[in-house]
Every structure is written in C-alpha cells, then in structure tokens.
Symmetry: C5
Subunit: 354 residues, 5 copies
C-alpha cells in the first residue's frame, strides 16, 4: 500500500502557486497526445513539444490534450501560461498528494481525481493523480504515467461510436471521470475476492497470517476511502450543474457518475464492516483454540496426577505397611487406579470435554 | 448470501448508455404480461412479442406492462425506443448491480428497487432488481425472474377491490413499491426468528457454530442495509411530490411507504445492535469456559502435587529416616495427607471455586 | 422483552388502508368512555355502542372519546366512517407494530405513540400503542387495553383542577401525550435502579448471571430507544405549531413535552454508555479472575515440582549413592527442600503474587 | 457521582405547571439577597421575606434577586405571581432533574444551567441546578443551596470594577452564566489530573482498582457531558441574539461563553477518548501479566517434569536393571539431568522467555 | 505530549476581558519586529518599545508587527489601546488555552491558531498559540516564543518574490495562516513515519513497549485533532469571504488553505483508524503468544505425566509384583514408555501443535 501521506516537506516555505513535483524522480520523457474532433472530422497526433498543441485552441472543435508525466515542471508552466491557468492550479497538478477536488474558474473547470490500479509486482493498490481541465473548446488531462484507462475513450472518438463525437467538452470531461470511477469497480472486485478468500481461510484454518491479511485489507480500505470519499463531493459539485460550461443535457451523465461513486462508497463501508467482523471472529477463534489446548492439558493432568499420587504412596518405604505384604495388594491397587481413571473419563465425557 | 459486489468488469470501457446484462446467463424466455384498466373496464393478456404492448399506449386507460426477465437486451432496447426512454435508464435496468434510486425524466419517473426473497435451497437471502417506469398512462415494470410478489396487486385490479381501479398510474406505481417494501417485513421476521434462536443457543450452549451463525446474520444485515437504506431516499423523493406525475392525493400513500422503510431501517439497526451484543456475550462465554477448565486443573494440581511430594519424601532411600521405622509412621503420614487434602478442599470452597 | 418486530405477514398482499389487527386475539369487550366538557359543564358516560358517541360531535364542547381495545375492527371502521378519517389512518391504529408518528390531515391531527409499562408477571417492559386523533372539537384516543395512565387527566377534568377545562382539544391532546411521556420517566427510574444494582454486583461478585443482566438491560434500552426516538420527532412536529388546530398558547406546552423526550433520550444514551462500560468491566474481571487462578496453580506447581524432583532423586535405587548412607543425609535434604520452598515463597512475595 | 436520573415519580399525574420540589428535604431557611445598582448607585441587602424584593422592580436600576434554596415552594410561587412568570417555568425551577435549557418569554428570558462542584466529602462531582430569569430591569437567580460561585460578580458590582455597573441586565445575566461555565474548567482540571494519575498508575502497576478508577472517571465524563452538552445549545440560542432583551454589544460576550462551552465539550470528548484508550491498555496489561504467569509455570514444568520422569525410572524396583548396579550410574544420571536442564534453559533463553 | 487542558483556574472570577497570561513564567524579553512594505518600498526594523510601531499605522503601506512572547501583559494592553482592540480579544491572545477561532470585528479580523512543533528534547509534539489580527493596512501577529515558521514569508517580502508585495493585508494574513497549516504536514509526516515504525515492530516483535508507543501515538492524534479540527472552521469562515477586509481575488488562496486543513484532518482520521487497527493486532498477538506458551506446557505435560505414572507403578514396594522379577521387565517397560512417547508426538504433529 502506498504511504498515507506524501512527502510535502519539499514544498514548505515556498511561495504559494509554485509548482513542485513531489513524486519519485523519473527519467522517461513526458508524452503528449492531441485528439481534435467534432461530429464531422477527427485528428490525432503525438506532439514532440507542448507548443504544437496551441494552434488547436483557436479552432471551434473539441481539443483533448493528454499529458502523461508531470515531472517536467516547465511543460506544465508553459501550458499554464498559454491557457492562462491560475498558479495554484498548476501547483495542484504537480503536487501528487492532492486531495480529489474540483474548482470552478469561470473560464474553465479544474478537477483532480485519483486513479487506482493494482500493482501486480508489489501486490498492492496504488494511486495516481489525474488532473482534468476543461474549458469551452479544450480538455487537458494530466496523468503521472502512461496508463490505458483512457484508451476506450480514444477508441470511441476514433470510431465515432456512442454520442461522444456529437457532444462538447463537458461530455469528454464526463467520459474521462467516468473511466476513472468505473475503474474503481475493478479494484473493488479484486479486493472483494481477496476478502472472500480470507474469510474462507478464517473459518477453515485461521493463522496469524490470516490476521495480517485482514489488517492489510483494512488498510487498503482506508486508502480507498481516502481516494473515493472526496470524489463523491467532486462529482456532486459538477452534477449540480451551476457552471455554464456544463450543458443541462450532460447533467444526467454526471448524475450517473455520482450514483457510481455512492455505490463504491457503500461497498467500501460494507467491506470495512465485514473486515471488522472478521477480526472479531479471528480473536474468538484464538480463544477457542486456547480453550482446546487447556482442555487437553487439564484432562491429562486430572487423570494422571491422582494416579501418580497413589503410586507414590505405595512407593513409600515405611516398614509397617500392611497392604504391601498382601497377596493381591498390587492387583487391588491397579484396579482402584483403573476405576479412578475410567471414572474421570466418564466425568469429562459428561462435561462434553471429550 | 449473494456477493456484495456484482461483476461489473464486463461493462468497463463501453460507451455510457450501453445496456449490458451482468447477471447469470439464462435460457428461459422473457415473459411479458399486459394489464390494461380503468374504473370501468379491464383487460389482461400475455404478449408473445413486445410489439403487442405498444397499441395500448394510445388509450387513456392505465396500461401496466410487466417484463419478467431482463437477459434479452433486444426487448429492453425495443421498449426503450418505443417509449422514448433515456439510454442511461436502459443501462440501469439491465445492470443488476444498480443501487436503488429514482430519477425524474419529466415525461416519466424511473425507480429501481431491490426485491428480497429467501432462497430455501441455498438457505440465504437473495436480491433481485425491480425497475419501475411510470408515465402519464403507462407503467412498465422489469423483474429479473418471475416472482409472485405482484400477484396480490393483479388480483386487486382484476376484482376491482380497494381503490386501485379508480386511481391512476401513480397509485399503481405506489402499489408496486409498497408490495416490494412490505415484502421486506417478511424477510425481517424470518431473520428475527433466526436471531432469537441463535440468542437462545448462545445462553444455553454456545459453540463455534453459534459464532458462525452470528457472523452470518451480521453479513445478512449488511446486505439488507445496502438494499434498504437507499430505498428510503427513493421513496422520500417521490413522497415530496415534486413531480407532476404524482397527484397530491397519492402523496399520503408514498408517505406511508416511507414510514415503512424507516421502520425497516430501525429494525435492521436494532438487529445489528443485538448481534454485536451477542458477539460480546459469545466472547465472554468462551472466557468463562476457559476459567472453568483452569479451575478444575488448578484444584486437582493444588491438592495432589503437595501430597505426591510428601509421598516422594518417604520414598527416598536414606538409611537413617526415623519415621520410616515407626510403628504408626505410615498411618500418621496418611492422616497428614488427608488433613492437607481436606484443608485444600475447604479452601477452594471458601474461594467459591467448588 | 417484547419481540423487536411484530408479525406483519398477515397483512402482506392486502390493499393499503385495510385495517387488520395483528396483536394477540382477545375476548374482552372493547370499552368506550366519553367525557364531554367545557369551562362551565362536564359530562362523563360509558358508551355501550360506538354510535352513542356521535351526537356529541355537534356540540361546541370538547368531546373526548377513549376506546380501550382495538381488536374489534368494526368499531374502528364505524368511527372512521363517522368522523371521515382516512383509511390509512385506520390501518395504522390497528397495526400495533406502527412506529410513533404524526400526520396532519388538515381537519384533524393523528398521533401514534407507544405507552410503556412494566409487566411484573413477565418481569419485562412492554409497549402498547396509543393513537390520538384531535380535531377542532373532539379527541379520540385508542389504547390496546385498559391502562390507568390517563386517569389523572380524567380526574383533573372532573375536578376542574389546573387549566384543562378552560382550554381546547389541543390542550387535551397535549395532556394525553404528556401523560404517556411522563410515564417513560417511571420506566427509566426502574431500569436505572436495576442497572445500579447490576453495577454493584459487577464489582462485588460478577457471575455469568451478571452478564445476562447486562445483556438484558441493553436489549431493553434498544427497545426503549425504538419507542422513544421517533416520539421526539412526533412532538417536535406539533411543537413547531404549523397546524391551525394548535393554538399558539399551547405551543409552549408541547415544547415542554419536547424537552422531556430529549431528556429521556439523553438518559437512554447515558444508560447505553454505562452498560457498554459495564460489559468491559465484566470482561476484564473474568480475565482478572483467570489470572488469580493461574497464579495459584503456578505458585503451587513452582514450589512443589522441583521439591518432588529432589525427592525423586533420592528415591532412585542406585547402589552407589553416598548421600543415602550419610548420617545426616535425610536431614540435609529436608533442609535444602525447606530453603528452596521458602526461597520460592519470598520470590513470589516480591513479584506481588502472594 | 449523583444518580443519572432524578426521582420524578412524585410529579407524575399532577397537572402541568405544578411546582414540586423533587430533591432531598432540607431544613435550612431559604436565603434571599438583593443587589440593586446602576452606574451611579449601589445597594445590597438581605431580604427576610420575598415581599421586600418587590419595590425594587419599579426602579429603572438593575435589580438582582438571588434565591439560595428552592425547597420552599411558596416563595417560588410568590415570585411567580409578582413577576407574572409562566407556571411551566416555576415547575422547571423546582424540578432539579431539568435539562439545561433556555426559553424566551418575550418579557423575560429563562435559563436553566447546571452548576458543578466537587464534593470533597463524598469524593465525587455533584451538580446543582441554577435558574436565571432576566427581564428588562431585573435578574432573578435560583440556586439549590448557597455556593460562592457568584461571589466574584458581587464583588465586582460592589467595587464597580470592570464594565458591569455600566451595563444592563443582559450583561449581568451573561456574567452569571459565565461564572457557571468558567467553573466547569476547574472541574475539568481536577478530573484531568485524576485521569493523568490513573494513567501513570496504569503503566506502572495496574490493579483492579485502576480499572475501577477508569470506570468511575468514565461515568463522571458521562455525567459532565449530560450537563454541559445542552448548555452549548442554551448559550448558542442567546448568542444568536434574537431576543430584544439582549443588546447587540452584549452579543460578543455570549459568543465568548459559547466558545468556552465548545472548548469544554472538546475536552470532555478528548478525555472520553483517553479513558477508552486506557481501558484497552488495562485489558492488554492483564493479558500480558497472564502471559508472564504462564511462562513461569511452563518453564518450571518443562524443566522439572522430564527430570522427575528420569528419577522415576531409576526408582523402579526391577530386579534386572544394569545401570543401577554400575559404579558411576548415579553420577551419570545426575549429569544427564544437568545437561537436559541446562539445555532447556538455553532453549527458553532463545525463545526470549527468560 | 502537552497537557490536554491548560490551567485556567488563575482566571476564574476575574472580570471578562482581563488579559491573564496562563503559561509558564518566562524571563526573556518580548521581541517586536516591524516589516513595512508595498510594491515599491520595503522597510524592516526591530522595535525596542511597542510605541515605535505606532507611526506606521498612518501610512497606506502594509505594516506587519510581529510580537514574539506574550508574557508581558502591558505590551499587549498598549497595542490594544492604540489599535482600539476589544478587551475580550486581548484576553484571548494571552490565554494560551484558547481554542482556534476567528472573530470578525468589522474594522479588523481576529484569528487564533495553534502552531505545532516537535520538541526534540522532550520527544513530543507541542503547540503554541499564534494570534493574528489584520485590519485594512496592518497585520499584528503574536507568538508565544520565537519560532522560524514565518521566516520564509519574511524572506519573500524582502526579495519581492511571488506576489506578496503586490497584495494587501489579507494576502499577508493568508500567508501567515498558510505557513502555520503547511507546518502541520511536517508534523504529520514525522508521526506517520513513527507509526509505520511501530507497525513494523508490531508484526516483527510486539512488546509492551509497542503498546505504549501505540497509546502515545493515539494521544498525539487526539492532541492534533483538538488543534486542527477547529482550524478548519476558522479557515472556512474566512474563505466564505463575508468580510469586506478580504478581497475576492484572495478568496481562492483561503480556499487552498481550507483544502489543506481538510486533507490534514483526513490524514489524522486515517492515522487514528490505523492505530486502533494496530491495537487489535497487538491484543491478538498477545493471545497468540499465550497460545504458544500453553501448547509447550501441554505437550510436555501430556507426554511425561503418563510416563512418570508408569514409572511410579513399578516404584511401588508390593512384595508380589511379577513383572518386577522378570528378566526383560525393565526393558519391556522402557519400550512401552517409548511407544507412548512417540505416539503422543505423532498425535501432536497431527494436531499441528508441533
């Protein structure tokens, strides 16, 4: 699981609005792709420099600029200058510890969301920050690295499937957010399966590893929660449609995304409840096991300690012990021991310990 | 218990508004029934194709189209085209992982609810999604499979009992929702009895199975909660009566359903409280049992270990042990042992361990 | 404690507004009393049939019809027809599983509350449903059976004590609700004493029965909560005084009842907190006890097992054991044992185990 | 700690507005003091009868009537008649189980608060009810018994220190409430110290008494909470300044008191959190102790039981045991025992049990 | 960790608005620095007496007076008189137990925040109170002692970096608050690392010290929460921009601080969740350990107690014991013992205890 809190100490003391990249250092080049379309035409290209994107702005078509990689501050700053973006916004794009949020700067809307993915290598959920800016005829999206979550949207634009080519930037913005939120379901499904496995293990053969699994899942839920809860608010603000950039007919789509975030939050809460129930089960299974161990000890001790005592008596070296001289003394004592032993076993049977 | 989260991965990446059935594959044919009535007349028929339903739309009478089975996408799409329904709505009908919700599209109101039933075979609660659309002169309801929860309503329409024949589509819509919500009470009664049984068992003879029962009931409550909580909101939206499709005189009926959902939620919360109280009882009964086991062990060990020690002393082979040669030595030692033993028993009686 | 959920299955499938009595079957006749008064005059009679009540309606005086017993549906229905009451209201009167609620039907206000009483025979709290309808010149109250909680009000009307004879139906309605809410305090006092007793027991001598007491009290609190929480809302709605049936000067009295319900809820929550604190105490007292038991076992075992071992050594039959032949060997070994024993005791004293 | 719920059963059934004293019976006479002042003049006297207070009402100066003791109903009633107070108000003054509240009767404002003090004798926190009524030129305060919490205010009026002499009844009312709320800080400090002591004890040497301390502190927090929470609301109502009796310039002072109540509530919640954390620590320290005890037992048993077994073998009386006759047999066995013993100790060292 | 509640008893009984310093006594002199700037000019000086600051007030430039040390009441009072500050405000500056709050006195805005820092010496988080007053052309800030958190702002003003020199007092006020809130992130990072360390320890080798660490971190979270929660409200009030002192263009900066406080609160809540999860893990690891200890004891006892009993039998001194005389008796018994011992080991292997 990624750290709950990102290193922000690098930023402290700098003037507000200074974009500082706080993630890991990366060597890869930033990749910029441009998709420009309206109902009739479609153009796609990969830009070498960010300046290639700027001419598209003057066209009435929808221009989608996607930037994969935010570790090159100068690119972000150039975009900021060209599109006249607020400096705090630039800071937020680059500060990957940002909480999901939306901000309405009359000319454009700024949205920050978390994209979750399952890192198979580290076997844990990770989050990347996605920032989306959409104005009247452009959408700019920033990702920390290249991921394929937006590919189906690209495909739909290319093929003109669905209504995406007929709609404006608000619908494209919605599509990007929808792709991110839909992705949460995949993560939840994966986690749900893991939790189900852990639960089965819990009832079949609980070990300290099971406890660790539960604890890990709990932490993953906390992490998910931190990413998804504020998303709800983000979508809710857009859904209420107070911005002139969001057409009324697009409102219902945002409402749909809103419903999805609610559903995800519901599921996370249910998982949390399940996990805390599983912890209780684990604790009581530990107690139950101890009970079993104690019973074995008690049964053995209770049967043999008195018998050993009897044997001890006849092991004493007193000169005047009549029984010792008797012909059937040994046999009698063995019988007494047998009777006591059987009696004890019956007693434990009755108590349901055996 | 059904899985908390449904497979949605099939849907990811598709354009919004694409209806994709995510449930199990089914072979049965979809069954369509039409009931058409007003105060004076009544007509009921089973449609072979969905097209048979469309003529009824032009009549001023109330037309209720009930579709049992949503796994044939083409039927849903035909209805959608004919009644001019929004594509997101069609998607929601078919996506059975949908959260209960209501949506007001001026011309019609769309309601999604969960119908619960007790699957005797799998011995668990299951949920099916019911979608209801009601416009000015038609009501369309979709169920996942054929269930008899709407039968009493059909009966009432046939016989003209109650005021249903005199009222419009809003009252029919209310009746369907009321039938679904009333059904929750039956489920709750069943669960309530199971919880009462478990509680009795808990005090009489708690076993690890009791714990499993508690855990299972807890999970069922989570499942119920997830289905019922959002229903409250759904009914509340309709009860506030902001839609022109709901007449003022019907408002009080929706308020009644609202009261029922609140009551169901109250009961679920009370059950949850009871179950978590039962878990505490279980845990402390495990501790109590261990206490009992420990006491038995301690009593036996505390009585016999010192006695065995005494026997051990007189089992030593020292040549010069006066007591061993005494006439009454053996008898004296036995007496001492008896006194110690009885003393111990008295001591434990005082401590209330015996 | 009464069951959390009442049998509603009888009702499922019936048209809404059908009054169905869901309580136990009763043979007793329903008792109807009429009190008619204004500042100047007063009349009281017991009605044989419900029809005797109807003439009073035309008089400007306040008419209070009290019906003890709701198992005769026909009486309820006659009243409903005569006073022109909504059918859902009639259903609610008879459905004793109803949640406390209030409903404003312009011509009259409908209030459902729970009356609690302590059933000495079953040694548990029980609830009965009381429905109150008050219009401009009549108040109708329904109880499940004859209880004396309204007697002081009758007395006050008879004697003209207080301001009740000078005020209208709203004040009478308030008086009935006040009587019911005041009664909650008596129940809470009783429960409070029981909880105090349990707490004392908990510290003096906790037994599994103490745990059962705590559990029972917790369940009673849940039951109380379910009855009282919604009452707050009921009173709050009336207190806000939006109905024309409640005069402004009566508002302050409803505010007083509201304060009382808040106080009762506060107390219930405090009791719940106390009970969950007591459960923690119980659990740790069980652990403490086990600790004590374990200490006794450990002390005995730790002292005597090594000593027994020493005795065992000199019980071995080796031919060449010098010590065994020594004159003071036996004495020396006994001394060594004594020293070890005393050393152990001192050790345990230091560890504060003794 | 005082009982959570006061005896109200005495009151049940009486007409509303009947003042009934529900506290302990007291013999002391009620003490009435009058302070009359404005910026220029100041007069203080102790009244024998309540009638002496009435002439002051006609003067434009601020008149503060303080009544210590509320067990003489007739005095309360006389004041009520003279100042034309609502009968429910009189009931509330005398009913010491009242929840803190405020009520605005246009001509005067009625405030009920709880004054807390630490009863050194019973070593517990106690609460007394203080009722304050302030009109345009008079303030009447009622206390259950004579306490010195208002003395600094008296002193300030006498000396004309601060701005109290220049301000009206609202400022005096504020001063009284401020004195009561400030007093909560003293109680909290005392409790805070006690909790800190308990915490230290918890880590140094937890005993069952520590648990009782924690439980007692928890109950005190519940009691405080019940007294302070509603005070917040009381002050908040006054701070919002909707009454014409509170001048705008006094508003900020009420806001200050409001801030204090919030701070007190914050602190109470923090203490509650701390206490529940301490309970967890206690429980796990009990478990830890048991672990220690078990380890001692296990070490002793594991070392000596096998050794005793070996000794037992050579204590057997078989005629043909070669070892027994060997010259170094005894010595060899002792060596073997020593090796086993040392081996066990090393083993436990490795396991960190020793 | 600092005490949850500060000594306020010194203040009780004094007239409201009396500034009383309740912190530790300090000998250091109070240090006053003045920074005066607008876009064109900049002046910085250290004032010997507070009177040196007053001439700056008449200039239209932004004047920032920073006072390090609040233990000299006379300085506070002089500032209060000169800038015409409300007496309650002065009291709040000096009362370091104040809850973070903001107060809008038309001519100036008053803000109290907590500055947190990590005291390396005492190895705990400490809080200092910072009060900020900003009017139309002046900002006064009070700190308890000299800290360097405002240094970057000074540096920015000196160098004219960022937009601070171009903006007014509201932006300076924002900068100060931003510096304080940004500092919280550093504290959280430090705590986050500590919690991660504790967690690792928890899984590797939990000791009672680990428990103490968890408890300490929990208390630190409570402390942080108490400081940060009300800050949110403070910033939120300013962000809503109802005061005429805050220009609209500065609003977005306050919104940014608001986002940061929300993020900090989120993180604190997540840490709290993690810590309570860790406590559960600790408790169950204690149980697991006890289980291990018990198993060892049980295995040893169960193997050797029966064997010792057998040895005891043949240690009895009966004259007529055939086996004792047999040639292979001893050997046979040893074999039997071996078989029993091996059988037991196999049994425990099956039970997975070994």
């Amino acid at each position: 699981m990624p750290r709950i809190i990102k290193k922000r100490s690098k930023k402290v003391g700098l003037p507000p609005g200074t974009p500082v990249y706080i993630g890991e250092k990366k060597a890869e080049k930033v990749r910029i792709t441009i998709i420009d379309y309206d109902e009739a035409q479609f153009q796609e290209k990969e830009a070498k420099t960010i300046e290639e994107c700027f001419p598209f702005e003057d066209k009435p078509t929808v221009t989608w600029i996607n930037v994969d990689g935010i570790h090159q501050i100068d690119i972000i700053e150039k975009i900021g200058r060209h599109f006249n973006l607020h400096s705090l916004l630039l800071e937020d794009i680059v500060n990957t510890g940002q909480r999901p949020k939306t901000e309405d700067f009359e000319d454009y809307i700024f949205v920050v969301l978390k994209m979750l993915y399952y890192d198979e290598k580290d076997n844990e959920i990770k989050a990347e920050q996605v920032s989306i800016i959409f104005g009247s005829n452009f959408v700019i999206s920033f990702q920390e690295s290249e991921r394929d979550v937006f590919n189906p949207i690209r495909e739909r634009i290319r093929n003109g499937k669905g209504r995406i080519r007929k709609m404006g930037t608000d619908y494209l913005g919605y599509s990007l957010m929808d792709a991110i939120v839909d992705n949460y379901f995949i993560i939840l499904e994966k986690l749900g399966e893991k939790i189900d496995d852990t639960e089965e293990e819990l009832f079949a053969n609980p070990t300290p590893e099971t406890l660790q699994e539960i604890h890990k899942s709990k932490k993953e839920m906390m992490f998910l929660r931190k990413s998804v809860w504020p998303s709800r608010e983000v979508v809710s603000v857009l859904e209420r449609g107070e911005s002139s950039l969001i057409r009324e007919s697009t409102g219902i789509y945002f409402r749909d995304v809103y419903d999805h975030t609610i559903q995800i939050i519901d599921t996370i809460e249910t998982f949390r409840d399940m996990l805390s129930g599983m912890l209780d089960i684990y604790l009581s299974s530990v107690s139950n096991k101890m009970n079993e161990v104690m019973k074995v000890l008690t049964i053995i001790a209770t049967i043999f300690i008195p018998l050993t005592f009897i044997a001890g008596i006849y092991g004493m070296n007193f000169r005047y012990m009549l029984e010792v001289g008797w012909r059937w003394g040994y046999f009698a004592v063995l019988c007494v021991m047998l009777i006591i032993g059987i009696g004890m076993v019956i007693h434990f049977r009755k108590k349901k310990w055996l």
